[in-house]
């Protein structure tokens, strides 16, 4: 509840709403001033979502950008309509709750939560270049460099030498470093550690190399990735149907008597826009992440 905030915080919020010259007021009066401003906007039909967002941001409403306009209005109203008389229980940020929640009923972990919430290692001191398929037209790559390799690269990064990421189309070939069907290349910032690459073909095999390129155009590979195959994005032209006998558990020759069912493919762009619109903010409201999965279908 707003009135329980520290005065300093309240003043900061009030400033965000454009209120000035209120330092001398009591907390409850500051809240009243804020209420007046906020409700003026909330109850005005002409107020845009953008304006509401700005107010919500000043008032530290969570996920405001994701909330539908009407819901955000309700949220903003509720900030001022609910009065708490009893002081709130002392709240401790919990081990991993998205909200501050609940009191512990058992002694705390011996290792403090801070240990576990501490940032993850930046690197594991290994050399690794990994390629992952995203969809038929995109691959993702990330790399990790050992301290040794890092130093080696730093020593060579001068006189116009550039770090380069290459993706080779190696569909149906045993890659030897120079026989790719096609080579895609990007100058990368080594510190970004990751890259998304747009690749030309679905159902094709790709391999990546991270290396250095001299101003003369000579490429020295440092790391090579695994091979990935992009998923198919169309119906196969192969239609020679083969059959299997489930009872005898083996391949059989069989002439089907059915003429076959036409294939209907899905156009993902036609995914029920109105419905999605209606429900897209649902997670912001309930906090149920995986509950929202069906919206993606």
């Amino acid at each position: 509840m707003l009135v329980e905030k520290k005065k300093k915080e309240l003043l900061k919020m009030a400033r965000g709403l454009g209120l000035k010259g209120i330092h001398h007021l009591k907390k409850s009066d500051i809240v009243e001033k804020m209420k007046e401003v906020v409700l003026n906007f909330v109850e005005d039909e002409k107020t845009t979502k953008k304006q509401l967002n700005k107010i919500a941001s000043a008032l530290k409403v969570r996920y405001y950008a994701k909330l539908q306009k009407e819901i955000l209005k309700e949220r903003l109203r509720s900030l001022f309509t609910t009065q708490r008389e009893v002081p709130a229980p002392k709240i401790k940020a919990s081990l991993s709750s998205s909200s501050i929640s609940a009191t512990r009923i058992k002694k705390p972990l011996k290792v403090s939560p801070e240990y576990e919430e501490k940032p993850l290692p930046k690197t594991y001191d290994t050399d690794r270049l990994v390629l992952m398929p995203v969809n038929p037209y995109w691959v993702h790559t990330y790399w990790q460099l050992s301290g040794k390799t890092q130093t080696r690269i730093e020593n060579q990064l001068k006189d116009g030498v550039k770090p380069i990421l290459r993706v080779y189309d190696v569909t149906f070939i045993e890659f030897n470093g120079s026989n790719a069907h096609r080579t895609l290349e990007a100058t990368v910032n080594l510190d970004t550690n990751k890259w998304y690459m747009n690749v030309p073909f679905p159902n094709a095999s790709y391999i990546a190399e991270l290396g250095l390129k001299s101003p003369e155009g000579r490429f020295i590979p440092l790391l090579r990735s695994n091979v990935v195959k992009t998923p198919r994005a169309s119906v196969s032209s192969k239609s020679d149907v083969e059959w299997y006998d489930l009872k005898r558990r083996r391949r059989i020759t069989y002439e089907p008597t059915g003429k076959g069912v036409n294939i209907v493919e899905r156009l993902f762009i036609l995914s029920s826009a109105e419905f999605v619109e209606r429900y897209k903010n649902i997670t912001g409201y309930s906090g149920g992440g995986s509950f929202a999965r069906y919206l993606e279908r």
């Binding site: 509840m1 996920y63 994701k66 209005k73 309700e74 509720s78 609910t82 081990l95 991993s96 709750s97 998205s98 909200s99 929640s101 009191t103 009923i105 705390p108 972990l109 290792v111 919430e117 290692p121 290994t126 690794r128 990994v130 992952m132 398929p133 969809n135 993702h140 990330y142 550690n193 998923p231 119906v235 196969s236 192969k238 239609s239 149907v241 083969e242 059959w243 299997y244 006998d245 489930l246 069989y254 089907p256 069912v261 209907v264 493919e265 899905r266 029920s272 109105e274 209606r278 429900y279 997670t283 149920g288 992440g289 995986s290 509950f291 929202a292 999965r293 069906y294 993606e296 279908r297």
Partner: protein
């Protein structure tokens, strides 16, 4: 003989969320809400159908984390408390709404929550008993899922993790349900070429893919998604029917958006004065859904202009929608059977279980009407995968296509700018785990304990749920923390294992909190 079959598959899954050190924990409510709004109502549907001697057949995947949570004593105790409080709140509502148009609804909620409590106690506080019962009756085919719903295509370079995800899934299913599952729901239907080999190895007979997993297969399918196919590695796949999902999801004709259905957003958790509601919302004072909602969707109007919900009218709508659905399935099967001739068409309709009830409040009722209608139809009958497979002998051989049932059909929901930072860590851990599984052949007792806990931490970090939540950009803090916590715990355990400086008290605490898969043996991570 009916003309064709309808195979309804409900995928029931929630990530493992259990924080025994807290009296209440906001994210644990996901489970409780799903129990109150989906799992218990589904069991009640099955009970009514059984009482009316309706022949119905339905398939459900109960994922390993869900099984572990539903049978967990701590969570059962917390759920009882949660349900009792809800009943308490519904009583308060009856007097609060006196002489208002909402009083009947308040009475309605009080009644159904009490009925839920009875159902819950009838299964001795363990809903798995309920599902088991209908599985024994033969109405329900239960299948499993990968251990923690990990995205298997992202583990392609680490076969040890794929083995572990598949085998622990099956083992957990057996432990809770006493029999080995014949089928497995792949997490997010995410498939890559070659996964079938691992599945075959783990004795998985069949699974499901989204439509394009089948129709982009090679060679192309003769009967589209209306007959299953078998891969050269001998795993059978059923494909999702496009029409059935569109009928439920379409913007213009989709069922759940009907104006007479219950409005999800208007909840008394937000509407009531703070003092009145404070014991029933989050301890922090943050307002959240209670599950008591008095308004219907009404139309494209603002939340403050919603009209009163009428359960009777909504029920009529659900019945009408079920009639429409079965009518369309009859037309579809008739049309398909003319093109198929030698195999009866099967329409595969998979959904997230939590859609029914939690999001679409009337969903379980709709399902009940669908199952009743199918029982009285001569054209289309419901069927389970095992039943269908026993009816056919010939099946097309096909290499099925990499795909998922997430947005846009591939992997981008779990691999994009919001969540790609997790994979360098997961891959590092996956690599270490399979190496350790190979090197520690005869561990000391303490080493074994540490290695098993490392395996648990890795599995929990692999849950697709965290990446998914990061992708939807809501409540991401919890998901990010869970990912970090499990990875950090793994790394510390690894350090302790190698250095031999064991932190026994801490190990005990961590094993007490992350207690999933008590029967786990880390050697399952061998390549």
């Amino acid at each position: 003989m009916p003309t064709g079959y309808l195979m309804i598959v409900l995928h029931a899954h929630l990530p493992f969320i259990r924080h025994p050190q807290y009296e209440e924990f906001m994210e644990e409510r996901w489970l409780f809400e799903a129990m109150i709004e989906t799992y218990i109502p589904l069991l009640q549907v099955f009970e009514r159908l059984e009482m009316d001697k309706i022949d119905f057949y339905i398939t459900m995947s109960l994922t390993p984390p869900l099984l572990e949570m539903l049978t967990d004593k701590v969570l059962q105790q917390k759920f009882r408390r949660h349900l009792d409080k809800l009943i308490d709140l519904s009583k308060k509502e009856v007097s609060y709404t006196k002489n208002t148009p909402f009083n009947l609804l308040a009475l309605y909620y009080e009644r159904i929550f009490n009925e839920e409590k009875k159902t819950y106690e009838r299964y001795k506080g363990n809903l798995v008993n309920g599902f088991k019962r209908f599985a024994k009756e033969g109405n329900l085919e239960l299948i499993t899922c990968a251990a923690t719903h990990g995205i298997l295509p992202f583990m392609r370079e680490y076969p040890g993790s794929i083995n572990a995800q598949l085998k622990i899934g099956i083992q957990t299913h057996k432990r809770h349900l006493d029999i080995a599952p014949r089928g497995m729901w792949l997490p997010e239907c995410a498939y890559f070429s070659g996964l079938d080999k691992y599945m075959k190895n783990a004795d998985i007979e069949y699974s499901f893919l989204d439509t394009h997993g089948i129709v982009y297969g090679e060679p192309r399918p003769l009967y589209s998604t209306y007959a299953p196919v078998i891969t050269p590695n001998e795993v059978i796949f059923f494909g999702r029917d496009l029409e059935s999902s569109e009928q439920v999801w379409s913007a213009t004709t989709g069922y759940p958006g009907d104006f007479s259905y219950r409005e999800f957003y208007r909840d008394i958790g937000f509407d009531r004065p703070y003092e009145y509601i404070k014991d029933y919302i989050d301890r922090s004072g943050e307002r959240i859904n209670t599950g008591i909602k008095y308004y219907r969707i009404t139309g494209k109007v603002s939340l403050s202009n919603k009209e009163t919900y009428d359960p009777q009218k909504a029920l009529e709508t659900a019945r009408r929608h079920a009639d429409d659905f079965i009518y369309k399935k009859e037309l579809q099967t008739k049309r398909l059977s003319q093109q198929m001739n030698d195999i009866p068409p099967v329409i595969v309709a998979p959904y997230d279980a939590e859609l029914y009830g939690h999001w679409w409040y009337e969903g379980p009722k709709f399902l009940e009407f669908v199952l009743r209608n199918a029982d009285s139809s001569d054209v289309v009958k419901t069927i389970t995968p095992s039943q269908y497979l026993s009816k056919i002998s010939k099946i097309q051989i096909m290499e099925v296509a990499p795909s998922s049932w997430g947005a846009n059909g591939y992997y981008e929901v779990w691999l994009n700018g919001s969540n790609d930072w997790i994979y360098p860590h997961l891959h590092e851990l996956e690599n270490r785990m399979e190496n350790l599984a190979a090197t520690y052949e005869k561990p000391k007792n303490i080493e074994k304990k540490i290695l098993n806990q490392m395996a648990r931490e890795l599995l929990l970090a692999q849950s697709s749920d965290w990446a998914f939540i990061m992708s939807t950009d809501t409540t991401t803090r919890y998901a990010r923390n869970r990912t970090r916590v499990h990875i950090n715990r793994f790394l510390k355990l690894n350090d302790d294992l190698v250095s031999g400086r064991y932190d026994l008290g801490w190990l005990k605490e961590v094993s007490w909190e992350d207690n999933i898969f008590p029967d786990l043996d880390y050697r399952v991570f061998r390549r």
